[in-house]
């Protein structure tokens, strides 16, 4: 270069920095900068001076510009690679946020745990109460059944006492085996009814495995008329099965539920019609 000083003072380097040169002129300056350290130094000083000038005229924009900018570009978050850089306000704020969020989640978890345990206890209490109620219910329904049976027996007795003329009364007397035993049987041929008067029953109480069975003798053959229990507090009239043309009634002690044929040596009472 003929005269470096003239070149430096020509103003072309300033124009280069201002971006006010044609492409050709630009390339020329860049070549000179590579070739002459003085040119490079001069350019640097111009740039630094202008950068400082710009900084002295700086105006702070509002925060939202930064947020918008960061949200609208693609970046790679390299947290682990550069820990010194990541003390930025945003990441600190994030960390702070996650801390609180974590604490809040823990509290919620704890609270739900307590509520769950409490609910479970209440549920168990309800199960117990339900079981008690069910057992009470069963008790009542048993009582109702018992009362219904009693009512039915009482009604039968009432029918008998309302119209005694229609009934033929047969008194069964104790056999050799049980001389004390006796039982009153009422027979109504018209209504086809056979009833026994439990209040007149005078027989030993049967145990759980046995029941008394009433038989009718028809043409010398025994016919089953049903079973009954003998208890101390038995009352009322119990309706039994009916058979036509019976000549006699007899009671035997049989296994629970009754037998097909009477066990003759357990004959308790017998009476002819």
């Amino acid at each position: 270069m003929k005269d470096l000083k003239t070149y430096l003072e020509s103003g072309i380097l300033e124009q280069y920095v201002f971006g006010d040169l044609s492409n050709e002129e630009k390339l020329d300056v860049e070549n000179n900068a590579l070739q002459y350290p003085e040119v490079r130094k001069e350019l640097e000083e111009i740039e630094n001076a202008l950068m400082s000038y710009a900084r002295s005229n700086a105006i702070e924009p509002s925060e939202k510009v930064k947020t918008n900018f960061l949200n609208s570009i693609n970046t790679i978050d390299q947290v682990n690679n550069s820990p010194s850089i990541n003390t930025g306000g945003a990441s600190l704020r994030n960390l702070q946020f996650y801390k609180y969020a974590f604490a809040a989640s823990l509290s919620l978890l704890f609270l739900s745990g307590i509520l769950l345990i409490d609910l479970n206890n209440k549920l168990n209490e309800s199960y117990v109460q339900l079981a008690v109620l069910q057992s009470d219910n069963q008790k009542f329904s048993n009582q109702v059944n018992y009362k219904e049976n009693e009512l039915r027996d009482t009604k039968n007795a009432l029918q008998f006492y309302k119209n005694p003329a229609a009934y033929k009364l047969v008194t069964l007397k104790g056999s050799a085996k049980a001389p004390e035993a006796s039982l009153l049987v009422a027979l109504n041929e018209n209504k086809e009814e056979v009833m026994i008067d439990l209040s007149s029953l005078n027989m030993p109480s049967n145990d759980q495995e046995h029941q008394y069975q009433l038989w009718a003798m028809v043409d010398g053959k025994p016919v089953d008329l049903g079973v009954f229990d003998a208890k101390d507090d038995s009352t009322g009239m119990k309706r039994m099965k009916f058979i036509k043309d019976a000549q006699a009634f007899a009671v035997t002690l049989e296994p629970k539920g009754g037998s097909l044929n009477p066990t003759m040596d357990k004959m308790m009472a017998i009476g002819n019609i």
Binding site: S56, P61, Q78
Partner: protein, 183 residues
């Protein structure tokens, strides 16, 4: 401001971080240069909201076309201020912009701007403001037209009705004054 930690990196570190598309690079880029670039853009468009939109556009353009920056040909800021200025000037030439902003008195704008700059709490500026006053007014007006408003030398010569050579000399002298003050 000032309470918040701003990220600062050396220029080679920053360039490297931006090339890697590192998020902290984007934050550092913004923290280090947003106010300087905003100062330039605001001077050109004279409208806060528009200037902030353009500042955002500027950073997005810088980020997305960073491959066109060549560190061997100059400092990063020189390249960025050119991007910012071009975006702002393009805006002022758009029809929509000329319709919306009434031609305002330049003197008024300078007044509001000076007020705005002064109101900023920027420790770097304190003291420097006086030194800037050393710039002769006829130097300062040319420097500001070219640097902040993107006038070409020829346009300045026409606007101020002075020879092109005088523009170049005054501009050079203005920069020499700045160099004495800052460097």
């Amino acid at each position: 401001m000032g309470l918040k930690t701003k990220i600062t990196l050396s220029e080679p570190e920053l360039v490297h971080a931006i090339q890697k598309k590192d998020k902290s690079g984007a934050e550092a880029l913004y923290d280090m240069y947003s106010s300087s670039l905003y100062g330039v853009i605001f001077r050109i468009v004279q409208h806060e909201e528009i200037a902030e939109d353009l500042l955002q556009d500027t950073f997005i353009r810088i980020w997305n076309s960073f491959s066109s920056y060549d560190a061997s040909k100059g400092r990063l800021f020189t390249w960025m201020v050119n991007v910012a200025r071009n975006i702002a000037i393009d805006k002022t030439r758009s029809k929509e912009f000329r319709n919306s902003s009434k031609t305002e008195d330049i003197e008024n704008n300078v007044l509001t701007l000076d007020k705005k700059v002064n109101s900023e709490i920027n420790p770097e500026i304190i003291g420097l403001k006086d030194l800037i006053e050393k710039l002769k007014p006829e130097h300062k007006i040319i420097l500001d037209l070219v640097y902040f408003e993107g006038f070409t030398h020829v346009e300045v010569a026409e606007k101020l009705e002075i020879p092109l050579g005088t523009v170049k000399t005054r501009l050079r002298n203005a920069i020499i004054t700045l160099r004495k003050v800052f460097n």
